[in-house]
């Protein structure tokens, strides 16, 4: 299914149901509740009240000159004001730009750099056109002007940009990317088709609302009448227990952390008896499914939650593509990232590098990027070269094997995708992380981050033997260099999303990687 066009040339309002976004801005919700959770408690309001408040805020912003085509920035922790600003902007046909508080400084001339009419922030700031989030409450408290005209009828056309999102690049200045209304609608429609969120569901969101996809679940609640809970990052674990959501929107790092928590509870004297009980203690007793994406999930973690009675569904997508594939209750295959969603097409070049074509592309270029950046990623029709390598199986499930950049070409011409071997090494308890290099095109050399200090060299050697035993001859690792200290953000060898920085790791261990006498040698 492809998202239907959201308007025609006359600008007439599309029929309800054609566009979630246009429904959200035009129609009061039928039901549902939104809850906002912080460490010190939670506050709930009917979605009807949220809709009314967003309209009032839109009128106040309009009175201050904000209108169609203007851009409002938000740099703040998750809170009611964030959601209200987002919805108010939608109702004015203004764009938003969400800034991750951990990555941006409000005083870094964000308003100037990103063409913001106003930047709302909960951080101390003195920059021009930068205002505190508390202004939202002040605006809402102003008395209504009885002569104020109603908000205009707003229609979001498929190619209209609703928000600027920023790539989470681990280095350099993040690139901006305007997300089109058509891409938002297409993703929401596709997700709704496979997960059927409905009254009685409560979707739990704790990742930053600066990520557009986290705001999807507010739009979904307004459109489909289910509940949604927005938690601060810090309150995530505490709130889960109180809220009893049916769906948790997470990322692999979160679920890995939860897995360790559940395992610790099982080990604790007097703790829960079963894995299922321990899992329910963490996630509550109403979970329908867990959503994971944005980074590859370890197979062991996925199996753990399935065994714990909490189905977890991995998907695939980039900022530039939105959601491309997703496992779901009706179609799930272990090891895959699911089938291709309606409106998306997955293409492969001769090396298996994945490109994604969308009926409704997120965009066709970056909004803020260095010359050449857009051309490297986007084709003229918006097709996105992902840089990932994979294949579709006979039933249409996508398997992602790694990054094209992580393909090693041996001197015999054989191409080795390093991720499976790296995962094989990581499956051993003594290895926290592993990256492979091929210094002489003949031998694979691993640099491993030890899981404990001092490193257990004997256990790492055993893991090397196990990994090699199940690998094809060309994929076997010749030597393992054990890092002097675990990879971490602090030493620059992990990104903020805990992914290894290959080039930094090679820089740190280059001499040993290139010295054939160094390391633990395969037997």
């Amino acid at each position: 299914m492809t998202a239907a066009p959201t308007g025609d040339l006359t600008g007439a309002r599309p029929a309800p149901g054609c566009s979630v976004l246009n429904d959200v801005v035009s129609l009061p919700p039928a039901g549902g509740t939104i809850s906002f959770a912080r460490l010190d408690g939670a506050r709930s309001m009917p979605l009807t009240e949220l809709y009314e408040l967003s309209g009032r805020l839109a009128r106040r912003l309009r009175a201050r000159g904000i209108g169609s085509g203007d851009r409002i920035g938000v740099l703040a922790a998750n809170c009611p004001e964030w959601v209200l600003l987002d919805l108010a902007a939608l109702r004015l046909k203004a764009e938003t730009a969400g800034f991750d508080p951990g990555k941006f400084d409000p005083d870094d001339d964000l308003a100037g750099r990103y063409d913001l009419a106003l930047l709302f922030t909960d951080r101390p700031a003195t920059a021009p056109r930068t205002v505190p989030m508390t202004l939202v409450g002040d605006l809402l408290a102003e008395e209504d002007d009885p002569h104020e005209p109603p908000l205009p009828q707003v229609v979001w056309e498929p190619d209209d940009v609703t928000t600027v999102k920023f790539t989470s690049g681990s280095t350099g200045v993040p690139k901006g990317l305007g997300a089109t209304a058509g891409s938002v609608d297409a993703s929401l429609a596709a997700v709704q088709e496979i997960f059927e969120h409905k009254p009685g569901d409560d979707l739990f969101v704790f990742l930053s609302l600066s990520l557009l996809q986290q705001r999807y679940w507010v739009y979904s609640a307004l459109a489909h009448g289910h509940d949604v809970t927005i938690s601060t990052y810090e309150a995530a674990f505490a709130t889960l227990r109180r809220t009893r959501p049916t769906v948790v929107m997470g990322v692999p790092a979160f679920f890995e952390t939860a897995k360790r928590q559940i395992e610790a509870r099982l080990r604790r004297p007097g703790g829960e008896d079963t894995l299922q009980e321990a899992a329910r203690r963490v996630f509550g007793d109403r979970i329908r499914y867990l959503w994971t994406g944005s980074a590859p999930a370890a197979p062991a973690m996925l199996r753990f939650f399935d065994e714990a009675g909490l189905p977890i569904y991995e998907g695939y997508g980039l900022n530039e593509t939105c959601i491309v594939t997703k496992n779901h209750p009706g179609a799930h295959r272990e090891g895959s990232v699911g089938r291709v969603l309606p409106g998306k097409e997955v293409l492969f070049d001769e090396d298996g590098v994945i490109s994604v074509r969308s009926d409704r592309p997120v965009n066709r270029a970056y909004a803020y990027a260095a010359p050449g950046d857009s051309e490297r990623v986007f084709g003229p029709d918006g097709t996105v070269r992902t840089g990932d390598v994979g294949h579709l199986d006979e039933d249409g499930f996508l398997f992602v094997r790694g990054r094209a950049d992580d393909v090693i070409v041996l001197d015999n011409g054989k191409k080795i995708v390093v991720r499976p071997m790296e995962e094989s090494m990581r499956s051993g308890a003594a290895v926290a992380e592993c990256v492979l290099f091929c210094p002489a095109q003949t031998e694979l050399v691993a640099v491993v981050s030890p899981a404990s200090l001092p490193a257990d060299h004997a256990a790492i050697a055993r893991q090397l033997a196990r990994a090699n035993a199940s690998a094809a001859p060309d994929e076997r690792i010749g030597r393992v260099i054990v890092a002097d200290e675990p990879f971490s953000e602090a030493n620059g060898l992990l990104t903020s999303q805990f992914k290894p920085r290959r080039s930094h790791i090679l820089d740190a261990y280059r001499a040993r990687v290139h010295d054939p006498k160094e390391g633990i040698h395969a037997s």
Binding site: F237, A432, E489
Partner: protein
Amino acid sequence: MRPDIELTARDHLSAVLNPPVAPEAIDPDADLAGVYGLTSLNKVLFLTEVCEAADVDLGHFTEDDLADMRTLRTVAESLTLHSGKAV
């Protein structure tokens, strides 16, 4: 800082550190992120768990309070203040 709360904090912190560090080996004044590589998510988990174990309502704290807890000592002292049994 109450000794029992400090011990509880040591146990729960040790449980989330990767690579592992024994409870008794944790320097109470060392920066949890810089020295022990405590990630933000693991910090949230650690504080949630230690509050439950020490019977301290996490609701006593704000998100900013959590950000200010950068060492084992500041965690244990903060919990002691709200334990209701400070000595």
